[in-house]
């Protein structure tokens, strides 16, 4: 299954959006929050270190300006705030950050205490040092000195022992100078120092101890891990980005290739259309004489444009002949392309099929196997007459340069060729019809004329024969008179033969209605020929092939053709030699000019009669089928003429190849008719026919014959019964047959039946005479069949009279 056309561009668009929108954005490690938190932590540590350092400096008295402590505290608090504001992004680091914030708050308070305490301390230290050095203390110098020494120690060591010592010395100094203001002030300051020194040290100690080392370490480690994680994520996204870009490039390349494919396809299609247009033009100019060559040329041009090895056009009706072209060295399979029309392929109506290699066991594979091709393109249509026509191209080696969209162009070609063929076929038919009409009218004139004469001649011959017989009876045996009379009787017999021949020739023939067993026919003919001629002549029957095909027609007529030609062959060998009868099935891809007329392309059953006799003078060949042309003194010149008429009536022709002194070959070409025409022929049966004969014997015989033709006979031997049956139920009968040797009686019966049912088709079976023909014409819708009744003649007559079932 092919992906939809829009899928490629859509995927490319999505990938573009994905790469530009999402992946690029994510492919850079976003560690801003981690970096900010790390900076805040760094600032925190720096501010804390500064605070501790400045706190120590303040306690040492090195730093008298508390602005720095204020700045340190503010920096610490600010860093703490920044950490707190980033805590939301790092829930796992929350406890550590809170601990640091809490610690910052504690340190800020301790710093405040340190400032306050130190300020007081510095105050009192300043006073103490001034007063200790001054002389205002007077007599109490000893106590003051002792207090000073103790106080100095306290500045170095704020242990309880020192505090106790300072307390004792304080009391001593107070006692010593209770009455003196400077001493009192000194003592007051000493008290402050006694209180503040340990306190300041405690505050500073707490401040310095207040360092959440563990929290700082935890937070730093956590943030570093986060950064690494972000970098790893970014790397993954970069890889994804690279992958997406690769896919995108691949998609774009694919789209580009597809575009190139479309462009080349358009070019190919234009070239193909050009070829088809040229072919159409040449087909329009074609005439019936060069039609087949033009069509084959057209097939070649189109096939070449498609890179096909073979091109062919097959079909029904006017296309049945078929046209094919194949590249040099490429053959057609036995049944291909005809088999494409077979019913097991659903190529009906209108359609197209393109197969470029097939998998599985589907129709595609079956077709390819039938064609013996690697790829195959077929277009077919049904024309206005309901005839299927199919145009195909295939390649045995590679792929056709054709795709589905170009099948339309192939269809144009099909329409063009089929149209041209149909036109040419119509033109050819018309020409053939004209020619036949001319010939038929000429032959009809001869036939009518000859029949009239022949009938009278028959009577005359009857007279001559009768008198000669009577005279012979009176003439003495072996006298010259008896011999002469015998000659007269011979001549009379020959005259009768001639008359019979003339009558048979003049008889009207109708399209053959049923299949003929060609093999049986040949066998019978061979035995008749052997029996009726000198035993010196051997008649050899070559067993016909199995798939000989089917011929439709009147078996008796066809046998007559074979007998006429066979008899000629036997005679040509002057009593000795071998006549060979053979049959074959042959296809004509092109029309064939035969001595007795042109054959259109198609499939034929060819019956061949070979002799090794005297041969025929080539200059005489065109005339041998003319009536009354003969080279024999005793020949009446009607054998080959009759054969030609019969074969022509069957849609075939006779060809002759002869070499003077070596022998002749007569080929009787009869079109093979496909089996479905059988059904059409028998469909005309099933009708009820009234049969009126002189005797019951004749009725039974004729009924069998009619039943054999699939008619339903109702036989009578009594005229009155037949008339009354018809009068009672005229619609029951489709036709009536009057069968009597004497024409006048048959015509009389027919007259009565005509009155009983005016429109009823009638068949007169009687001795043919000019008068009978006249009478039959006067009756209307009446056919004449020569007595005695024979199946073929009857079938043709009925067929002629009765419209096919289902026809209007």
């Amino acid at each position: 299954m092919r992906a939809p056309r829009w899928l490629g561009p859509l995927a490319a668009l999505s990938l573009t959006l994905l790469t530009t929108g999402v992946l690029i954005d994510r492919s850079k490690a976003d560690t801003r929050r981690e970096d900010e938190a790390l900076r805040a932590l760094g600032d925190y540590e720096q501010a804390q270190a500064a605070l501790h350092r400045d706190g120590v400096s303040v306690r040492m008295g090195l730093l008298r300006n508390y602005d720095r402590l204020v700045a340190d505290t503010a920096a610490l608090e600010q860093a703490s705030q920044r950490l707190l504001s980033s805590a939301e992004a790092f829930p796992p680091a929350g406890p550590a950050i809170e601990d640091l914030a809490r610690s910052a708050g504690v340190q800020a308070r301790l710093a405040e205490d340190l400032k306050t305490d130190s300020a007081l301390l510095q105050n009192s230290l300043a006073y103490f040092s001034i007063m200790a050095a001054s002389t205002e203390t007077g007599q109490s110098e000893g106590a003051v000195d002792a207090l000073t020494a103790a106080m100095l120690r306290l500045t170095l060591d704020t242990s309880p022992e020192t505090q106790d010592l300072v307390g004792r010395r304080l009391n001593a100094a107070r006692d010593a100078g209770a009455d003196r203001a400077p001493i009192r002030a000194l003592v007051a300051h000493a008290q402050v120092l006694q209180r503040q020194l340990p306190r300041a040290d405690r505050t500073l100690g707490r401040l310095l101890a207040n360092d959440s080392v563990e929290s700082r370490r935890t937070l730093r480690a956590y943030l570093a891990a986060r950064r690494e994680q972000a970098a790893a994520d970014a790397l993954r996204f970069r890889l994804a980005l690279a992958g997406a870009i690769l896919v995108l490039v691949a998609l774009l390349v694919r789209l580009g290739l597809r575009l190139r494919g479309h462009v080349s396809q358009l070019g190919r299609r234009a070239r193909l259309e050009h070829v088809v247009a040229e072919v159409s033009a040449s087909l329009i100019r074609a005439s019936p004489t060069n039609a087949d060559a033009t069509v084959v040329n057209a097939l070649e041009q189109i096939a070449s444009a498609l890179g096909a090895d073979r091109g062919y056009l097959v079909g029904e009706g006017p296309y049945a002949y078929g046209h094919a072209w194949a590249r040099a060295g490429v053959d057609f399979e036995a049944e291909w392309p005809k088999r494409a029309l077979a019913s097991d392929f659903p190529l009906r109506g209108k359609g197209a099929l393109l197969i470029k290699g097939a998998r599985g066991d589907g129709l595609d594979r079956t077709l390819l196997e039938a064609a013996g091709a690697r790829s195959l393109g077929l277009v077919w249509a049904t024309n206005e007459d309901g005839c299927l026509v199919l145009l195909g191209f295939d390649s045995k080696r590679g792929r056709l340069r054709l795709d589905e969209s170009e099948l339309e162009v192939a269809r144009l070609a099909l329409d063009s060729i089929a149209g041209a063929l149909r036109r040419l076929s119509l033109e050819r038919n018309r020409a053939e019809l004209e020619r036949r009409l001319q010939l038929a009218s000429r032959l009809e004139a001869i036939g009518v004329f000859a029949s009239g004469i022949a009938h009278n001649f028959n009577n005359i011959l009857g007279g001559i024969g009768g008198y000669a017989e009577m005279a012979a009876a009176q003439a003495p045996a072996r006298s010259p008179a008896a011999r002469q009379l015998g000659e007269i009787q011979h001549a009379v017999a020959r005259g009768r033969d001639l008359v019979d021949g003339i009558l048979a020739f003049g008889r009207q023939r109708i399209e053959p209605p049923r299949s003929v067993d060609v093999a049986g026919l040949m066998k019978e003919t061979a035995s008749v020929l052997s029996a009726s001629h000198s035993s010196e002549v051997r008649v050899v029957l070559v067993t016909p092939p199995e798939d000989l095909g089917t011929v439709f027609g009147e078996g008796g007529d066809l046998q007559q053709v074979l007998l006429n030609i066979g008899a000629n062959a036997v005679r040509a060998m002057e009593g000795r030699g071998e006549v060979r009868l053979s049959a074959a099935r042959t296809s004509l891809t092109h029309s064939r000019e035969c001595v007795a007329g042109t054959l259109p392309p198609g499939t034929y059953v060819r019956l061949t009669v070979d002799d090794v006799g005297c041969g025929i003078d080539p200059s005489l060949l065109p005339q041998i089928f003319e009536p009354f042309f003969t080279t024999r003194r005793d020949g009446h010149g009607l054998g080959l003429a009759t054969a030609r008429e019969i074969v022509r009536d069957h849609g075939g022709s006779i060809d002759v190849a002869s070499t003077l002194g070596q022998g002749s070959r007569f080929e009787i070409w009869l079109p093979e008719v496909e089996s479905r025409h059988d059904a059409k022929a028998t469909a005309r049966g099933g009708r009820t026919v009234l049969l009126l004969c002189a005797t019951q014997e004749c009725v039974l015989q004729s009924e069998d014959m009619l039943a054999g033709l699939s008619y339903e006979p109702v036989g009578y031997s009594d005229e009155e019964e037949a008339v009354s049956a018809l009068t009672r139920k005229p619609e029951r009968f489709d036709a009536a047959i009057c069968c009597h040797e004497q024409a006048s009686i048959a015509v009389g019966w027919a007259d009565q039946l005509r009155r009983a049912s005016p429109g009823l088709p009638l068949v007169l079976v009687s001795r043919v005479s000019l008068q009978l023909n006249y009478d039959a014409a006067a009756l209307g819708r009446c056919a004449v069949v020569a007595w005695p009744l024979r199946s073929g003649g009857l079938a043709r007559a009925l067929n002629h009279l009765l419209a096919p079932l289902g026809a209007p």
Binding site: V56, R59, M60, G61, L62, R64, N65, Y66, D67, L69, V70, A74, E112, K115, T116, S118, A119, L120, Q122, N123, S124, L125, A126, Y127, S129, I130, A133, L152, T155, L156, D157, T158, S159, A181, A185, A188, H189, V192, D201, R202, L204, G205, R206, L208, A209
Partner: protein, 321 residues
């Protein structure tokens, strides 16, 4: 443990250092006039910094808001009502008699250099200028309104709204209101005092008496609390350590800045000292347990007068009712 640290590491040298540091100071206290002291690299007082750079539009807007009476509930008071920028950044002593609701506090601190103070108001309640401003707007005894109400009123005035949009890119809201006021207040520094000139190397900036006063200021112990660029305003301290000073509440105060102290009477949180001499004398007794002589007080006061700076090119002056 703490003690071990202190003893073992640094206390010993530090104590010697204390003694060493005190010795020159003590010696300089009574030094001859021709041997005038020059600024030591580690003076406890440093010159005032220059005002921080700020968006002039915001400073301008803050200045307008500082004088805008719509900030108060009744529309009768602005910040400038109590902080007169034309004189001392506070007000005349008479107005200080009015209570601001803070316990025992009856003196308006000056707004000048307030931005340098580590905490604000007498008790050091507010850590930032914004918090202090918001509180003053809310304080029923001061303005009695609310920042939100002030914003609503300002939003009705197109000119003010336009000024906010220019300065902040948005309509007035509480943060921008307070920020504008605070930004303006950060510009209210008073540089160019004579003492700063001396600190910066102008040896003739101070008279002998003033120098004497400064030396006394340091040796007596005033500089223990009053140090840094603001001469105070960077720590908390108890008052009345040796003797009571003023109203006992609040017990702990933010050490006030002594910048411009000469022009901002009265003194102490309760405004109980009306003159600088009285204040210096009282401080010496209460905080240092020293009875300063009149001449010592005069010297120190002379020094304190050199701390008066200039705003807008004019020296600050005492406010008169």
């Amino acid at each position: 443990m703490t003690r071990i640290d202190l003893r073992g590491c640094w206390l010993r040298p530090v104590t010697f250092a204390i003694g060493l540091a005190l010795t020159p100071a003590a010696a300089g206290a009574g030094g001859p006039a021709d041997n005038r002291p020059v600024p030591h690299p580690e003076e406890p007082i440093t010159p005032l910094p220059a005002p921080p750079s700020a968006d002039p539009l915001r400073v301008q807007l803050g200045e307008r808001l500082f004088a805008d009476r719509r900030l108060s509930a009744t529309g009768s008071r602005s910040c400038a009502s109590c902080h007169d920028l034309a004189t001392n950044g506070a007000g005349p002593p008479a107005r200080d008699a009015q209570s601001t609701g803070d316990q025992g506090v009856k003196d308006t601190p000056t707004v000048f250099n307030a931005a340098l103070s580590f905490r604000l108001n007498w008790a050091g309640t507010f850590p930032t200028l914004e918090a202090q401003a918001a509180n003053s707007i809310r304080n029923p005894a001061v303005m009695g309104g609310s920042p939100q109400q002030a914003v609503e009123r300002l939003s009705a005035d197109p000119a003010t709204v336009a000024a906010f949009r220019r300065a902040y890119g948005r309509a007035p809201d509480v943060p921008s209101l307070l920020d504008a006021i605070a930004t303006f207040e950060r510009s209210l520094l008073t540089p160019d005092s004579r003492f700063d000139a001396w600190l910066k190397g102008d040896q003739n900036a101070l008279s002998d008496r003033e120098l004497r006063g400064y030396t006394l200021f340091k040796t007596v112990g005033c500089a223990s609390c009053h140090q840094g660029r603001s001469v105070g305003a960077n720590l908390f301290q108890r008052h009345g350590i040796f003797h009571p000073l003023a109203s006992p509440r609040p017990a702990i105060l933010r050490v006030p800045s002594l910048r411009n102290v000469a022009v901002t009477p009265p003194y102490f949180h309760d405004g109980s000292a009306h003159t600088l001499e009285a204040a210096v004398h009282a401080m010496g007794r209460a905080q240092l347990n020293r009875s300063l002589t009149a001449s010592q007080v005069a010297d120190i006061v002379a020094f304190l007068r050199t701390l008066t700076g200039k705003y807008d090119g004019r020296p600050l002056t005492t406010a008169t009712p």
